[in-house]
């Protein structure tokens, strides 16, 4: 089975959910302590949600300096698959591993609710198994999820296909612009998830691991985790990683 590392920072609180989500998606989940110097043979790494270091100062910024993040950055630089969910996205953004920053929600309140998102493309390691499901329903739970980047960066992200998910209305048809209630935090261009330019590191604010079983109201998150596990399995094979990176970008 494919090993997927789930990082545990002090203050991570979705680590257990994510470990379980990886297992539901068919992977072998291993905990990676924030002081770890290596990724313990993981074929992919997930930074889970929560409040690493209390999110004090700025969400994700203190966690970014954890020892394990050096290993994560090195792994990403080699083309390894990295996914940040919610707080994990914030950590990746602070670390500069994905573009942009996550500002306080437009309404200045923490928001926990189900949102609808739609993938921009289905040929990435994070979305390949989503198929025709649209829109995807899953919870958000964050106070700082307003995606921000300057206009030039946003244009480049769109041009280069780095926008992974956008918030959409419940009919799924239309993108939720800033100011639309379906865009819960005021994210610019309704961006809910992005990738780096190489296509192997992604972050998203909604929680796929909380939408992995019908009993919880939605299993729309499962295909995201399954995509990740499957892509990681492929990356494990000789030259798999290079293929993957080539396939993912453009």
């Amino acid at each position: 089975m494919t090993r997927i590392g789930v990082v545990v920072f002090p203050g991570s609180n979705c680590d257990r959910d994510t470990l379980r989500g990886v297992e539901l998606a068919g992977g072998e989940a291993v905990e990676l302590w924030h002081e770890a110097g290596s990724l313990d043979g993981g074929a992919g790494v997930i930074l889970p949600g929560g409040f690493a270091y209390g999110d004090y100062l700025r969400a994700g910024v203190i966690a970014r300096f954890s020892p394990v993040m050096r290993a994560v950055a090195a792994f990403a630089a080699e083309g390894g698959l990295v996914l940040g969910i919610c707080n994990g996205f914030q950590v990746l953004a602070e670390a500069g591993l994905v573009p942009g920053a996550l500002l306080r929600n437009r309404g200045l309140r923490f928001l926990g609710r189900d949102v609808r998102i739609a993938p921009e493309r289905l040929d990435t390691p994070f979305t390949r198994l989503i198929g025709a499901r649209r829109p995807l329903r899953m919870p958000i739970a964050h106070g700082e999820g307003c995606y921000f980047a300057d206009d030039a960066t946003l244009d480049a992200l769109e041009r280069d296909g780095q926008v992974l998910f956008r918030y959409v209305r419940s009919d799924g048809g239309s993108t939720a612009e800033t100011g639309d209630p379906a865009n819960p935090n005021g994210s610019l261009r309704a961006i809910a998830g992005v990738m780096n330019d190489r296509g192997n590191v992604a972050g998203l604010m909604p929680h796929p691991e909380r939408a992995g079983e019908a009993i919880l109201g939605s299993d729309d998150g499962l295909p995201i985790l399954r995509s990740f596990v499957e892509a990681a399995a492929q990356a494990e094979r000789p030259d798999g990683r290079a293929d993957l990176a080539a396939a993912a970008v453009r």
């Binding site: 002090p10 203050g11 609180n13 979705c14 257990r16 959910d17 379980r20 989500g21 949600g49 929560g50 409040f51 270091y53 209390g54 999110d55 004090y56 929600n105 437009r106 309404g107 309140r109 923490f110 928001l111 926990g112 609710r113 919870p139 739970a141 106070g143 209630p181 865009n183 819960p184 935090n185 005021g186 929680h207 691991e209 909380r210 992995g212 079983e213 009993i215 919880l216 109201g217």
Partner: protein, 773 residues
């Protein structure tokens, strides 16, 4: 116990004029009782320790005799009152721990920072037992939502509770939000927490084994929350800088999260003999309670206590309520492992003393002994007061429960159209959707929330099993103001009914008694009647009371609060696949009314909206009927005869029906036989009633089952369309009502979309929150 909930004490400003014990909140009689127990005069430090431990909050000195009357035994109870939290076995080697507590007074002073540590405190009560917290329910009551001060408090409390709970990663899955002007000067912030544990890890807050180490871990100790005892500081320092002695504590949810993980790791690795959280009265409370429970003593050395601030006085260290700390009792040979666990989680940890055999709490500083008090004198043998109870004047004016009063069966002026009344009720602050508030909480973390806030009881699945926990909180304060026995009994009936209608079996009850000054005989009467009602209801329903909390002195210059017995119930659903929800599910399903309306509108939301005086008489409660109703609905769920089940409570039948329609996104057409009067039948809140729906072919089975339980049941209509249509029929309808001057002629006919709109907009509008996002 709840941190920072010490009742208001005499202002320490005139410390020099007032004898020290009085400035510390102790009466002359209490000082004598202390002398008795010590056989000598206490010194200042000892007096400070008695002052906090003999406070109402820590000692239960007024309520203890009442609490003793509550039923505590029940199936599977593993820990009951007297332990940090109630624990009940749920099979598979698992157990559920749960408790409710208040954080009222600090929240009134500083809503955000005051409310937040309340969450931390109750969570510690749960994980101290070895349970991982899996859910929080927050029950809160505020004054008039139109008042700026209320809005400030609501906003602060919601941010405080949310900020803390969201960070520690425990989902907030339910609770209450009630507005009543009586809470204007004294809001109620009650928080219930639920945890799951493997029963073999059940841990006691006891200090067994003389020679074992007393280990303090978590945050360092500062001057936070010294409260009333700060009088000692002003007595000691000539020019005291008050800014240095804040009594408001700042919670650190990040530290709490680390504390949860470290504590559970210590327990699961078998490294501790006992574990207790530090709350009110800090080290004094933790050491004396753990020693007393084990029949041992504890000797501590203040110099060993890690501090956050320099120059702390011994009493400050002893009574500080610094948050996010735990006391572990550890065998000497295991200390190195304990320290390693704390280090890994980044938590300071220190041996501050050891368990002794002498039964005393002994405080040393280096070689000097500063205090020595029998542990029991501070806890189990603390003073008890038998307070005077006298019913208030007004009580005698109120008619007996259920007495029909002419005034109450009238709809208000706008009630020419009951549809308009229904819309007004759905949009009223107490009945409208709570979404604007609960969306500020994380209700889905831990990925086990089957039903979160918003629609009746919360449902949390138990991972690794097919089971689910079902929980609800309720308090009927308005009826309690008229008849406290009935108010408490109705609260139990409603909370348990909310759990039962999902198909779950209620396991036990926890409660938070929010009342006024117990030295006022009328206030004490309210409390004692409420406890009697709580006990009677729990006995009738066969449920143990496994714990709770008492918050007295909830009074402000504006007056006392309504007596508020907050009830928390946890139930067990054996197979989560059989869960019954409240929403109508399918076109063509039959709608049935179970139970029957009884007169008495006092305390209802209808009465509030219509401006009726509470002296009208509240609805009666038949506990035997309630028990039968709950047995019926559980059995119906078990046999999968129910498509939906919703209980009739706030706003009465019409609101229950409308909610099931709104949540199901479906219309209904029903015909209601009015027995009493349209107001009573549509909007009255008499208990033991349900609105259920079922597939047509299940109806005969349901009827037969209801007959077996001797419960009235009646098919009243069907699910379908997009409007809510209620035709009124029967002797009490139009004609007869008109004759009595009630003037109701119309049926209800409102689009479900309009009902939804009223329900969704009500709360943000009442609070003046902009409709952002």
């Amino acid at each position: 116990m709840t941190v920072g909930e010490l009742e208001p004490q005499a202002a320490p400003t005139a410390a020099t004029a007032v004898p020290l014990h009085r400035a510390l909140g102790l009466t002359d009689d209490e000082l004598d009782a202390i002398r008795d127990r010590l056989g000598r005069d206490p010194n200042e430090l000892e007096l400070a320790m008695f002052g906090v431990m003999w406070s109402e909050h820590c000692s239960y000195k007024s309520s203890k005799p009442l609490l003793k009357t509550l039923p505590t035994r029940g199936e599977g109870v593993v820990a009951g009152p007297g332990e940090t939290a109630g624990v009940i076995s749920i099979g598979d080697g698992l157990a559920v721990a749960f408790k409710i507590e208040s954080h009222n007074h600090p929240s009134a002073v500083e809503p955000n920072q005051g409310a937040a540590p309340g969450v931390g405190g109750i969570l510690r009560d749960i994980f101290t037992m070895g349970a991982r917290p899996v859910a929080v329910l927050d029950a809160r009551r505020f004054g008039d939502p139109a008042e700026p001060r209320t809005r400030h408090l609501v906003d602060g409390v919601v941010r405080g509770v949310g900020g803390y709970g969201n960070c520690v990663g425990v989902p907030t899955v339910g609770g209450e939000l009630v507005f009543d002007s009586s809470y204007g000067g004294n809001p109620l912030v009650n928080v219930m927490a639920i945890g799951l544990l493997e029963q073999r890890f059940l841990t006691r807050a006891a200090a067994p084994g003389p020679g074992n180490l007393a280990v303090l871990f978590g945050s360092a100790t500062g001057r936070a929350g010294i409260g009333g005892a700060s009088v000692l500081a002003s007595a000691t320092f000539a020019d005291d800088d008050p800014s240095k002695r804040p009594s408001v504590q700042v919670g650190d949810p990040f530290a709490e999260k680390l504390l949860i993980e470290a504590s559970l790791e210590l327990i699961e690795r078998g490294l501790v003999e006992g574990l207790q959280d530090l709350g009110a009265a800090g080290i004094t409370c933790a050491t004396s309670e753990t020693a007393d429970r084990a029949g041992t003593g504890i000797e501590i050395d203040l110099e060993a206590v890690p501090r956050r601030e320099p120059d702390m006085e011994p009493f400050e260290v002893m009574v500080s309520e610094s948050q996010e700390r735990m006391l572990a009792i550890v065998r000497p040979e295991r200390y190195a492992d304990v320290a390693a666990v704390c280090e890994r989680w980044g938590l300071p940890c220190a041996v501050i003393g050891r368990v002794t055999a002498d039964g005393d709490v002994t405080v040393r500083e280096g070689g000097r002994e500063l205090a020595r008090i029998p542990a029991a004198a501070l806890t189990s043998d603390a003073i008890v007061h038998h307070r005077l109870a006298a019913p208030p004047e007004r009580r005698r004016l109120a008619p007996a429960p259920g007495a029909p009063v002419v005034a109450s069966d009238q709809l208000p002026e706008r009630g020419m159209d009951p549809g308009a009344v229904l819309l007004a009720l759905l949009g009223s602050p107490n009945l409208a959707s709570r979404r604007a508030v609960y969306e500020q909480y994380d209700s889905t973390v831990q990925a086990s929330t089957v039903a979160g806030p918003g629609r009746g009881a919360a449902v949390i699945r138990v991972r690794g099993t097919s089971k689910a926990l079902v929980a609800a909180t309720d308090a009927n304060a308005p009826v309690g103001a008229v008849d406290p026995w009935l108010g408490a009994a109705l609260s139990v009936a409603e909370a348990t009914r909310n759990v039962a209608i999902t198909g779950a079996r209620p396991l036990g009850v926890t409660n938070c008694l929010n009342f006024g000054d117990p030295t006022r005989p009328e206030a004490f009467w309210l409390l004692s009647e409420a406890v009697r009602g709580l006990g009677d209801a729990c006995r009738a329903l066969g449920l143990p009371v496994t714990g709770g909390n008492v918050s007295l002195y909830n009074e402000s210059p504006l007056g006392a609060i309504l007596p508020t017995p907050e009830i928390g119930v946890v139930g067990l659903l054996d197979d989560v696949a059989t869960l019954v929800g409240p929403a109508f599910r399918a076109e063509g399903d039959a709608i049935l009314l179970v139970g029957e309306a009884a007169p008495g509108l006092a305390g209802s939301e209808y009465a509030r909206v219509a401006g009726l005086a509470p002296e009208d008489g509240p609805p009666a409660l038949d506990l035997e009927r309630e028990r039968a109703l709950q047995a019926f609905v559980r059995e119906a769920a078990r046999r999968r005869l129910l498509a939906s089940a919703q209980d009739v409570s706030g706003g009465g039948f019409a609101v229950a029906l409308a909610e099931a329609a709104i949540w199901g996104g479906r219309g209904v057409h029903v015909r209601l036989a009015v027995v009493s009067s349209p107001a009573v039948d549509l909007f009255g809140e008499s208990p033991s009633r349900l609105v259920i729906s079922a597939r047509p072919h299940d109806v005969p089975h349901l009827s037969a089952l209801a007959a077996e339980h001797e419960i009235p049941i009646e098919v009243i209509g069907t699910v379908g369309g997009d409007r809510l249509l209620v035709d009124l029929a029967g002797a009490g309808a139009t004609g007869a009502a008109e004759e009595r001057g009630s003037r109701v002629a119309d049926s209800i006919d409102v689009p479900v979309a309009d009902l939804r709109h009223a329900w969704e907009q009500g709360l943000p509008r009442a609070l003046g929150w902009s409709q952002e996002a």
